[in-house]
Symmetry: C2
Subunit: 320 residues, 2 copies
Amino acid sequence: MNKDLVIGVDVGGQSAKCGIVDMMGTVLKQTVMRSENYTDAQQYVDDLAATLKQIIKDADVAGRIRGIGMGVPNGNYYTGEIENAVNLKWANKSKVKFADMLQKAMGGIPVKLTNDANAAALGEMTYGVAKGMKDFIMITLGTGVGSGIVINGQVVYGHDGFAGELGHTTLVRHNGRLCNCGKTGCLETYCSALGIARTAREWLEMTDEPSLLRNYEEISAKDVKDAADEGDNLAKKIFDYTGTLLGEAFADFIEFSAPEAIILFGGVARNREYLDEPIKKSMNANVLPLWRNKVKLLYTALKESDAAILGASALAWEIK
Amino acid sequence: MNKDLVIGVDVGGQSAKCGIVDMMGTVLKQTVMRSENYTDAQQYVDDLAATLKQIIKDADVAGRIRGIGMGVPNGNYYTGEIENAVNLKWANKSKVKFADMLQKAMGGIPVKLTNDANAAALGEMTYGVAKGMKDFIMITLGTGVGSGIVINGQVVYGHDGFAGELGHTTLVRHNGRLCNCGKTGCLETYCSALGIARTAREWLEMTDEPSLLRNYEEISAKDVKDAADEGDNLAKKIFDYTGTLLGEAFADFIEFSAPEAIILFGGVARNREYLDEPIKKSMNANVLPLWRNKVKLLYTALKESDAAILGASALAWEIK
């Protein structure tokens, strides 16, 4: 029978989102496995395999699965291992040979994995706005800032499989904000959802400017968006600032790999109406003249509920 | 007859260095064409072709030349054109279809070109310390700072052919030094030979610290090296500072492409004894923990007099 389908699995701390996908990027069947309580990798793998076998059966597509692609925090494309993923209780102590284990549990169906940002880039290239592009950078703006870099039609994995940590490039070199990674001044500490909330808290403390945000107890990036939607000036200035910083960082990324486009993805990217203009302005002001107004700033075209599964599934099409 | 040789041409403002190279990286024959007075591209091409034909004849290797590779300022790998090269009087006004013109003048011998930093990276990968490496970054520290990035065994040209302008990534984001490119704070304004001289002048003005450098009229990077060799403390501190800045920049480059090594090339790289330690210290302090003490810092292994020709020649081996 023709192997005309793939499975995509997006592995997160709380759950694993699983779906069967066809070549057009249609998710034929999907399901979610709750996973916050797993502490043992083998148990996790066994239950994930059972879940996948069930949706294969439900969709009546046994024999048609070419392979399984997974987006996994700290997933190493070359080795198929997970290395010290702090948010996965079943994989935060030592290396887990995740791809091998799942492949065995699935009766030999080939398994490939990479980190979630690389998966997102592959998904965009396979099914989304990056279709036909050979050089682009995908930036995921969520709780953190991740990136998937595509050069010459290939995701950049680097010498060790972990390339593309653009969220941890240094944006503010002196007296920058402390990052979870232990460094200071990382892009992520300013331009992630948490970074935006941090900017809001700092600015509210430092100024007396009236703002709707003063009514919130614990401010989130979503609150800043809501306030901006209400016309709040401080909230808009926070997005201006965030966009300006993103543009400065993007200018350096362009100088590295001269991409056709930078593509934004993730919760924070939904604030396009507030971020688009300051990003473009700052990116073009900070990049070498030869790239000024030449690099596109795009936003993901994938349906949000499917995006994580599609990204992961895209990896499985590479399997010969 | 077997096409077992290539020609490398390093095109500069003052001269074109030309050489016939075999597969082992031996320069069988070389010559230099003075070129500072050319203002017409066709004249330049015709005379360069005559020069090349002469060394082919002198070396008695007619029929054995597989192709010609050239390292050219602002050379575009994809199109074979030179675009607004400010230092070439015969190519600073409009685009010059340099590769096509030379190929025609050479009776059809295939010609490929790229910029000099990419050529250096190819040379190192073909004949030097990067032999067998698939992921590395070559940094040329000369009058300016250039770079050639290799990912997955291929030089990164980017969407438009101009990728790898790492000398113009922003090192100092606010109140940085003005760069020739029009931006401020570029890595090149601090860590090139001119940048080092600029640091020396600034520090001599800002402090009263005694230094041998106070005896020089116009300070060059070479003077700083000579003073350091004499034990001059200020000169040594200038190298410490330069190395620290380079290390900070390299940390971000590593976060982009996770290379196996960063390889230094060019006049300033000869100050290895003063730069090596501060670069390593700063690079490892500023990079994500996962790459700490894992990325090699290497220096070119190519003989200096041959390096530019070898780099350019390496491009010609790609010709099928």
